[in-house]
Assembly symmetry: C2
Homo-oligomer: 386 residues x 2
C-alpha cells in the first residue's frame, strides 16, 4: 500500500503524526514531573463562539477548558481523548485512511477495571458515534489539525468543472475535459495543487441537477467560470475547495440557491461557517462569498428593479412558504451576519409575500434563460446580496 500512496499523502501523514505526538508528549512530561496530566482544549460551545465583525467569520473564542485525568468528572473524557489520539496516530503511521465511522468502531470496546474494593467495574469507551465524533473534534482543536490533515476520509458530494488544471495525488487533472460528467472533489482538498486556472469567477450551485444542466449547456465555457455544486448542504471538502479558489486565486464566489430560508442558510454556511463547526470557519468559510440568487427581488421586483418573472410566471411557479420556512427566517433574521441592508430587505419581502421559489422554476422559463440571461445579467450588474 505504501508504494501506492502518493508523495503528498506521505508528507501530510508525517506532519500530522509529528504534531499529535508532540501534543501528547507534553502530557507525558507532566506525568514525569509528578504533575497531574491536564489537557487544555478550547471550549466548543455557544458561549465561546462569536461572530467576528472585522473578519466576518464565526470564530471560537479564547476560553479553554482543562481536562484533568485526576478529576473524576473529567477522567472518562480524558481517557476518550487519549484513546482517539492514539488510534489516529496509529492510523497515520500505518498508512491507513480511516473514516469517522471507522474511528468509532476502532475505539469501541469495554474496559474492565478493578476498584479499590476489589470489585470489577465495566465501562464502555463509547457507545454512540456522536460521542466519538465529538472526541475527534476535541483532537482537532487540541492539535489545531483539521481531520482532513490527519487523512481521515469521509463521504463527499461536491463536484466541479471548469477551465483549470489541478494536481491531486500523482495525477494532473484537467477539469475542462470531464465530458458530460464532472470531477468529484477529494476528501482532503488541502492536498490539491492548483496548477493553473483560467476563469473569472466561481459559481456554486446548490442543486446537483441544475449544475448538470448548466454544465451541459456550456455555461462555464461561455462565461469563463468554475462551476461547483454542493449537492445540498455543503460538506467540508467543498467549502474548503471554494475557499481556496477565492483566497489563493482571488476569484469572486457567487452562490445560487433556491429562494427560501434553507437556501439562505446554505449561503451562510459557505460564507460564515456553522455554529457547530466554528473552530474550523477560519479554514473553511469564504467571508466574501456573495448570494447571487434567486432573490425575492428577482421574483417580485422592487422600486428600482424589474422582476425576472412575469405575473403569470409567479402564479405558476411560486410556492407558499411553510411554517418551518417562516420559523427558519425568524431565526436567520437575528443572526449578526444577516444584519445588512440587502438581507433585511430580502427577509422582509419574504415575510410579506410568504412565498418561496425553486431555481428550477427559473430553468423552466428555458434553460437558455437561466444560463444565458438571468445568471450573466445578475453577474454583470453585480446584483447580489452580501
Amino acid at each position: 500500500m505504501s508504494e501506492i500512496s502518493s508523495k503528498v499523502d506521505k508528507e501530510a501523514r508525517q506532519k500530522a503524526a509529528s504534531v499529535i505526538r508532540n501534543r501528547f508528549l507534553q502530557l507525558i512530561d507532566q506525568i514525569k514531573k509528578g504533575e497531574p496530566p491536564i489537557m487544555e482544549i478550547p471550549q466548543r460551545n455557544i458561549n465561546n463562539t462569536h461572530y467576528d465583525e472585522v473578519r466576518k467569520l464565526l470564530l471560537l473564542g479564547d476560553k479553554k477548558l482543562k481536562r484533568s485525568f485526576l478529576d473524576l468528572n473529567e477522567a472518562k473524557r480524558f481517557m476518550q481523548t487519549s484513546l482517539m489520539g492514539s488510534i489516529i496516530y496509529e492510523a497515520l503511521i500505518n498508512d491507513e485512511y480511516p473514516t469517522i465511522r471507522d474511528l468509532f468502531y476502532r475505539g469501541k470496546h469495554t474496559l474492565v477495571l478493578r476498584g479499590p474494593d476489589n470489585r470489577t467495574v465495566e465501562e464502555n469507551t463509547w457507545d454512540e458515534q456522536k460521542e466519538s465524533d465529538s472526541v475527534i473534534v476535541d483532537i482537532e482543536v487540541f492539535t489545531s489539525l483539521l481531520r482532513e490533515e490527519m487523512l481521515i476520509l469521509s463521504k463527499e458530494k461536491g463536484k466541479v468543472v471548469g477551465d483549470m488544471r489541478i494536481r491531486s495525488g500523482n495525477d494532473v487533472i484537467d477539469l475542462s475535459k470531464m465530458g458530460h460528467g464532472a470531477y468529484s472533489i477529494e476528501p482532503t482538498p488541502d492536498l490539491i495543487d492548483f496548477v493553473d486556472i483560467n476563469a473569472d469567477f466561481v459559481l456554486v450551485v446548490e442543486k446537483d441537477a441544475v449544475f448538470q444542466q448548466l454544465h451541459r449547456a456550456g455555461f462555464w465555457r461561455q462565461y469563463r467560470s468554475i462551476l461547483v455544486t454542493s449537492a445540498g448542504q455543503p460538506d467540508r471538502a467543498t467549502r474548503r475547495f471554494v475557499r481556496r479558489l477565492n483566497e489563493e486565486h482571488k476569484l469572486p464566489v457567487y452562490i445560487l440557491t433556491d429562494a427560501d430560508p434553507y437556501g439562505w442558510y446554505i449561503y451562510s454556511v459557505f460564507r460564515i461557517g456553522s455554529i457547530a463547526l466554528s473552530y474550523e470557519s477560519e479554514r473553511l468559510a469564504t467571508p466574501n462569498a456573495r448570494f447571487l440568487g434567486v432573490s425575492m427581488a428577482d421574483i417580485f421586483g422592487t422600486d428600482k428593479k424589474k422582476a425576472y418573472l412575469s405575473e403569470s410566471d409567479r402564479r405558476s411557479f411560486i410556492i407558499k412558504a411553510k411554517d418551518y420556512d417562516k420559523k427558519r427566517a425568524e431565526e436567520i433574521k437575528n443572526y449578526p451576519w444577516f444584519q445588512t441592508k440587502g438581507w433585511k430587505e430580502e427577509i422582509d419581502i419574504f415575510m410579506k409575500k410568504q412565498a418561496k421559489l425553486e431555481i428550477e422554476a427559473m430553468a423552466s422559463k428555458g434553460l437558455k434563460f437561466l444560463a444565458f440571461t438571468y445568471l450573466p445579467d445578475k453577474i454583470q450588474k453585480q446584483d447580489y446580496i452580501a
Copy 2:
C-alpha cells in the same frame, strides 16, 4: 448553445425527437380518419409486473391500457400525456436539457374551459411533481425511450475510478488519472463510449466513504478492477453504467454493502430492478451481479467456513437488528429472486442471530484487512451469494 453541444447529444436529440414525433403523429392520423384518438400504453402496476425466471429480471408484461381522449375518465390523463410529450419534444428541438422538476414547472398551469352551459371551469394541468413524474414514465413506455435518451437530466451520485478510458461529450477521459478524487458518472450513460478497459471485474461499493478509502489505498490498481460507488440507493445512471460494463465487456460485477436487509435490497435493485421501475429493468439491471458481502457467514462462519470476525470483533461491532430490519427481511424472503439456497441461508442466519454489521466494521479491523485480505480472498474463492 448549440455550437457547444457535443455531437453525441445532437444525434441523441434527433433520434428521440423523431421517435416522439412519429408516436404522436399516429394520434393525428386517427383524428384525420375521424376516429377517436387513443393511446395504447403498457400498464405499469404490480399486476403487469412479473419476475422472468429465465432472464432473471423484473419485467413489464403485455397488458396495455387504452387511453381515449373521448373517455371522461381518461381525458385529463390524455391531456397530460400529450402536454408532456409536446414539452419534451420542444425541449429536444430547442437544445434544452430539462430536469424532471423543470418539466413539472414547464407544464404547470391552469386551463380555463367553457362548458356547454357557458360556465367557465378551471382545471390545473397538474399540482404535484409526482403527477408529472408519472406522466413522464407514461411517455417513456409509450415511446420506448428512456428519459435519459430524451436528454432529461437529473441529480447524480454515482462515481467511478479504474484503469479505463471513456469518451463523453467531446472529451476522452482517463479514469485511472483522477488523483484522490473520482469521476462523477453523467446523467446520460448511454452516450458514453467505452474506449478501452483494462480490468478483470467491477466492484460496486454501497458507501461513498468506503469507496474513498479503497480508492486511496490503491485497491483498483492492485486488483485490476473498476471501482464504483452508488452512494446509497443507486440512481438510474449508475445502474446503467454498471450494466453496460457487464454486458458489453463481460466484467463480473460484485456488490459490497452493509450486512443488513437494506444492503440486500441495494444488491437487488442492481441485479433485478425495482418494482416501481420494472419497465426499465431490461436496460438498467445486471442480472448476473453478485452479492460479495458483507454476508452473515462472513460474520458468524458456518460448518464449512471460518468467520472473518473473531468473537471479540463480534462483541464490539455487531448491531442488534431493529424491528424494521426484521420486517424488511420478511418481505425480501418472499421475493422470487431471493429463493436460492445461498439467500435462504443468509436470511436464515440473519433471522436467527438478529444481527447486522456495517462495512466500516470490517475496515476498522484495518483498511489493509478490508482491501488486501477480505475482498481479494472473497473474490479469489468466488465466495458470493447469487
